[in-house]
Symmetry: C2
Subunit: 317 residues, 2 copies
């Protein structure tokens, strides 16, 4: 792992759509892209997502995983166009899609009927877990699917960096004359045990390491804190807030949340920062969303199409 790549901008979320089911001329349906080290993880894919991805300069060829929360149209109708575009661009490498069951059948029907064969394979991963479960990992990231409380099967997603390696204290390393395998062990946080029984405590060899960062996407859902321990301490939380508090009953009926519910959840989970979004098209002015949420949880921002949120690197204390 090369620390040169760990810049402040290497964990950046961009909102591609902040509207709920009915888009407006300013707010597209839901989609977000998480850029971690120039790998782009797409979260939901409402209509127009491919246009938004181009507009905000995501690299289409670097999207290899798409996470779809649920099969309401405003969260996946952009897939048809995006997957076709991948094909028209000559993509060969596989694409992984994670979603509740049913998506494969829809996509096959559409692509078969239109005689648009795709140039690359899709690996469909159907989510059926009733409790939080890790569903993906690569060399630097793990993703968990967390069941939401919505009208149909729906999952939130937790994106967590894997533990970073420790930076080494070079003079201590040289003094102790560490071998290559010992250096790898030290970077991973292990004490070094020599053949003669001598132990070099890890703390003598290292300077510290960066904290693993976590982003949680929590939508669409009514207020739902059964799995809140999985969200605890996250650096960044997106929680839907489709309605203002006055529509609390209607929010509950439709499987959505209000401002105060998002705020209460963020506060209980002790996250560093909250983004609210998925705003109902009935609201033109979003200032009341911000004000209501801030009354409980001050570290909140509104989702806006094109807005980015970076989680900067920090060192462990």
């Amino acid at each position: 792992m090369n620390d040169k790549h760990l810049l402040a901008s290497d964990f950046k979320l961009t909102i591609l759509g902040s509207s709920s089911a009915l888009p407006t001329s300013e707010r597209n349906p839901t989609a977000q892209v998480l850029n971690i080290r120039e790998r782009f993880f797409l979260i939901d894919c409402g209509e127009g997502t491919q246009i938004q991805l181009r507009k905000y300069r995501a690299r289409l060829g670097k999207i290899n995983q798409i996470f779809i929360s649920h099969l309401h149209g405003d969260h996946f109708y952009g897939l048809f166009g995006l997957l076709s575009t991948f094909s028209l661009l000559g993509r060969k490498h596989p694409l992984q899609i994670f979603s509740p069951p049913g998506l494969k059948k829809i996509l096959l029907q559409v692509f078969t009927s239109t005689q648009d064969g795709l140039s690359y394979p899709i690996e469909f991963n159907e989510l059926k877990n009733a409790a939080p479960e890790w569903i993906f990992e690569n060399d630097f990231l793990k993703v968990m699917a967390i069941p939401m409380k919505h009208r149909i099967a729906c999952y939130g997603f937790k994106f967590t960096e894997k533990e970073h390696l420790y930076n080494l204290n070079k003079s201590a390393i040289q003094q102790a004359k560490l071998t290559i395998p010992e250096i790898h062990a030290a970077r991973s946080g292990e004490d070094i045990v020599r053949e003669n029984g001598r132990i070099i405590p890890n703390k003598q060899l290292i300077l510290g390491r960066r904290k693993a960062r976590t982003y949680v996407y929590y939508a669409d859902t009514a207020y739902h804190d059964e799995w809140i321990s999985e969200v605890a301490g996250a650096d960044l939380l997106y929680h839907e807030a489709t309605f203002l508090e006055e529509k609390k009953d209607f929010a509950h009926q439709t499987g959505h949340s209000t401002t105060l519910q998002a705020a209460e959840f963020a506060q209980k989970a002790g996250v560093a920062k909250l983004i609210i979004g998925h705003f109902s098209s009935r609201y033109k002015n979003l200032t009341p969303f911000l004000e209501e949420t801030q009354s409980i949880f001050p570290h909140v921002e509104l989702a806006e199409d094109g807005k980015s949120f970076e989680i900067p690197c920090k060192w462990e204390e």
Copy 2:
């Protein structure tokens, strides 16, 4: 018919998308809306069409007919979102969709799988005609489907106003003491035959009438003049020109046209004005499209997202 409604803006085409299969950040996939007397006729419906319709202030509740040229995704992937939106807005009145066969199956699969029932009925009209055929009419308009020459079944559409009624010469009407049925007959262009055998020639009773206007949408297609007589004399023609002339062979292979082919067709058909569009995303600068086409047919404009074209009222000569 009330002539007050026949303003210059009562036959207006708005381009919602001017790109071919791959959209760009400036050009959406194909869609157009034809506003005739505040009734909105949608022609093709690429991804993002509902956003474009809102942006350019088409009245969604006044769209009752949608004409889909063919089942390549860039011409209909916007239907899923648009039809859902109609439903979310509480639409009750039926929607007519005209398209080559296969669309119904796709839409039913999507709406069934997502458990998104629609609040209104759809009347699917499958086009199978091998020669031009009238497929729709109302009190002021007729629409013809014209087979194109593309890789899959594809139709262009001709929108023609019905013949207008004649304006009456009021003093001649009073002098002749026309009855109400005679007035209707005169407006329709008939001579009046009295019981005593006296004939009042229509020309003595009328002042003239407005010309019926015609717009033809001709895409996607390779050069194809088999049905050019149906396009002859149109006020406005949209002809696809996916490629510059240098890509003539590739255009032919893929069932598309070049600038010069669009120009040649417009010239042979003797239309008043030509719009070219469906530009390949490989071209950033469209000026060469305009220049090449103008070298054969001067009355040409480029399709641009958001651009409108009005066909003004004219009197018959």
